[in-house]
Symmetry: C2
Subunit: 260 residues, 2 copies
């Protein structure tokens, strides 16, 4: 268990972050997500803030996704990182891989996990449920897309080195969110065939607003500063792609969520 | 001839633009480019500003590229739109197409045209020749890339619905600039095969920093508000893609040219 005590007042630039772990249950498993809200934000009278749902990498809930949850809160969003393994932890490699293999063939299961996280987010009194985004990393990107395919009321979906393809590609006709996918050109998990299939899927489905940013010389997990220690071929942190893709996401949030 | 008198003090937000047509000769043809500098910019003592070279669409020098030249000047750059047809004009359609067909097989000719424009830009006393970018639209994107393939001292190359491919793809090994290509997914001039060939070219050449942004549902000439009047299938202005790609360019300029 990596569940932590509620913390109030964590310093984050000029923000005053209130963060806490949130337990919730999906299919009998206790999930432990991570919520962050900036108490220094000036919210208009009667107003609420846009909410951002984060879905972690295939390795599980880690410091990286928690840190990004806090960064989003400091940027004026209510941010909640869901947990799709249970316990808010990083399972042993084989366990995580086995779970992902099952999920990849179970879009309903993916959608239940995503929906449960979204419910935690929208249950927060500070959230404006009409201004929601879902972002995700690796398999978390798949989960974010799957939510949009499932008609979740999202304005924005962003994937970082995301799994692009679905067991139910036709459901992409349901996507109304602005879609931004950020991919490394040398990512072995998202080969050119996968990107091309995604492009065809978006076109066939008539998705009104989708974009794919392709970063040259960049591999999988480019947003994860800890990934290099694994030594996996084709996986590498890339500070430049990390920074640029995050900026593209913030630009899109400004355009579609208008937090300020 | 669309050459215009020098103008001083054109209002552009808070900028005070000084603009003028510049005549220069390439291969015996008199070109008429368009230069814009903001006289209100605060330039550090002894300091100079980054320079941006613009290359127009395959239709010729038009109000759109002139307007963008002024916008870049208002953003703090010395901006020069080169002319590659002669006379700073929009030739009749058949004449322009015939000229482009010749140029596509003549990378040396493209490079001479680009180099001549770059010389006009760097000859301006306000320009810091160590901080240069080349941007281009349609065939102008091809020209900007070709300059980088020719070892022109560029820090940034940006193409908007650009021709991506070269008669000398191996020369991409010379590219040291940060490359950003902005493409519509439904652009009939840049089909998926062309994008894929470009990706392979960049990879094989070992270009250190390249990126391709792919906009769903977007066709050719998406930056040209006048294009819809032509009624050409697959050609369409797209305000959203125009705005986003321009922002991506400015972000990259900030990163690599640091004008402020």
């Amino acid at each position: 268990m990596s569940a932590r005590e509620p913390s109030i007042g964590a310093a984050y630039g000029l923000a005053v972050l209130r963060t806490r772990d949130v337990e919730y249950e999906v299919d009998g498993v206790v999930m432990v997500g991570y919520l962050a809200i900036d108490d220094s934000s000036t919210v208009p009278v009667g107003g609420r803030r846009p909410g951002v749902l984060l879905s972690h990498e295939g390795g599980g809930m880690d410091g990286n996704v928690r840190s990004r949850t806090e960064r989003l809160a400091a940027s004026g969003y209510v941010a909640f990182a869901l947990d799709y393994f249970g316990g808010g932890r990083q399972p042993p490699f084989e366990e995580a891989q086995a779970r992902l293999r099952v999920l990849l063939d179970d879009p309903d299961g993916i959608r239940r996990l995503g929906r449960a996280g979204l419910e935690v987010l929208t249950a927060q009194e500070e959230v404006d449920a009409d201004r929601l985004a879902a972002i995700g990393f690796c398999f978390g990107g798949t989960m974010s897309l799957e939510l949009a395919r499932d008609r979740a009321p999202l304005r924005v979906v962003v994937g970082f080195h995301p799994g692009l393809n679905s067991a139910r590609p036709d459901d992409s006709a349901n996507i109304t969110a602005s879609v931004l996918m950020c991919c490394g050109a040398d990512d072995p998990i998202i080969p050119v065939e996968s990107r091309r299939a995604f492009e065809e899927e978006m076109r066939s489905a008539g998705v009104a607003d989708w974009r794919l940013e392709l970063y040259g010389g960049v591999g999988h997990s480019f947003t994860n500063p800890s990934i290099d220690a694994r030594g996996w071929p084709g996986f590498a942190y890339d500070e430049r792609a990390d920074r640029r893709s995050w900026q593209s996401m913030l630009d899109l949030f400004r355009e579609r969520l208008d937090p300020t």
